[in-house]
Symmetry: C2
Subunit: 309 residues, 2 copies
Amino acid sequence: MTTRPAVLIMQRHLGQLTPFLEGSYDVYRFWEGPPAEVEARIGAIVVAGEFELDKALIERLPNLKLVACFTSGYDRIDVEWCRARGLPVTHAPGVNHEDVADHAIGLILAARRKIVEGDRHLRAGEWTPETRILTPSLKGQKVGIVGLGLIGQAVARRAEVMRMAVRWWGPRDRPAHWPRAASVLELAKASDILVVACRVDDSNVGLISKEVIEALGPSGLLVNVSRGQVLDEAAVISALRSGALGQAALDVFTHEPADPADWADVPNTVLTPHTAGATTEAVQGMLMLMVQNLAAVFNGEPLKTPIQN
Amino acid sequence: MTTRPAVLIMQRHLGQLTPFLEGSYDVYRFWEGPPAEVEARIGAIVVAGEFELDKALIERLPNLKLVACFTSGYDRIDVEWCRARGLPVTHAPGVNHEDVADHAIGLILAARRKIVEGDRHLRAGEWTPETRILTPSLKGQKVGIVGLGLIGQAVARRAEVMRMAVRWWGPRDRPAHWPRAASVLELAKASDILVVACRVDDSNVGLISKEVIEALGPSGLLVNVSRGQVLDEAAVISALRSGALGQAALDVFTHEPADPADWADVPNTVLTPHTAGATTEAVQGMLMLMVQNLAAVFNGEPLKTPIQN
């Protein structure tokens, strides 16, 4: 019988991690229905932070020592519940915030400078000698950043070089180069572009409410690189349809994968499939941290990047 | 009979300038076939710099005092020929180089981070739980800028904040923060992303040749916000088809409007309809300069922004 530790990968899109793990571990994939006798051998589960933990499963795993969250965000993971069971959770902090900020800027440019629409327009043969699409300059546009963590700060630095004026709001004040608004509503009122870059927790689900969306207004652009739950998505769709909101550029959605039918007739949108932080380099960084955390837990050494709070 | 000066607009897409000019001038539009007796009254023609002058027409206008080029670029205007006739040419310098640089960064992000492709992928229902598009991080990508004028410098500043390494080449050395390559070929060899941001003249038509394109290579991205003529467009298309060039993100084309049939089956492209510099604010700036130049010529005052070289 093997003495190698066993690891269970929970989400299908993480299945591609298998070749990097099976050199050291027996790797099982949840969606393939591993046999029940394996459960006693599982020492770690590998998860993505935007999925809820399967608590019933975890309770059936007597030798589980680690919840290894592959991603940086862990919003759907009940860390308190794990802690109460003495089960540590690790994640991958600080590996992709600059990539997420790049993508946020890419969404601003794609929406404001009509890059996605221009590409479609040209390919459809709609560019004629009489037409010339005009777009707004980014110069002097007021950008409000919700959440001035690593991602928010990286967005702010990029926005400044592009001549935008930066303000921010977050629940806790902190020293910053940029002025903090009194509330998210005040920030939206004072912004042409609102970039949602905060971490999600119970306190901010639905933070970007109908009122905030309407404060951003008919010429406003809403960008989300955080999590879908921070937005009232139905209110966003309704405001885009009515013209109460100008544009939305979204990388994340309440339900993922997003259903294209939900967006088929919603105007003035740029939509990407949760790719803001999914760069090859970031994934390599996440993989390296996860491999180190797995090795640590099975060797009885300190974890590399445990979730502390 | 009116004593107001008469102005002739040459290109259809400039027709929308009419309302801003007809308060002071009798405005004629070339494509509407103004009557022959008007020719004696035309004091200025309004043109866009990417179109060739109609020299035969100019020779029929006895009272022409100014070629008012609405745009910043004037690559198709034979300034020497005008000068030999004693005919000044004005243009709109310095009004949109930052907007063009923003668009260039938008094209880099749209291509590298697959924003246009991701939008299409999501809307086509191709985002599934098993798929997760990975894209390359911009971190450490080597950007080569062809032409370090106002646009090139503005691209360089933005690329640096996004953690890219900047080099450049131009025919004349100049003091700069960034190292200059020995030639455009050397620049392409050393670059992951080549951004063409130079002014076009007789010396650099076809500068981005098959050899330069192949030096950029199978994972390289070619961005053009200059003029279509700087590229060997047939070589670009052929290299994209064969995989000798990785990606192209183009705002300008040899013939404009671009024929979508030319690009229909060319892979890995982002195409925008010459919108890089066409922002509302830039157009307002161009209009203001043109109105000042027109007023100056008809009042016998010094021109505001004549082409000097």
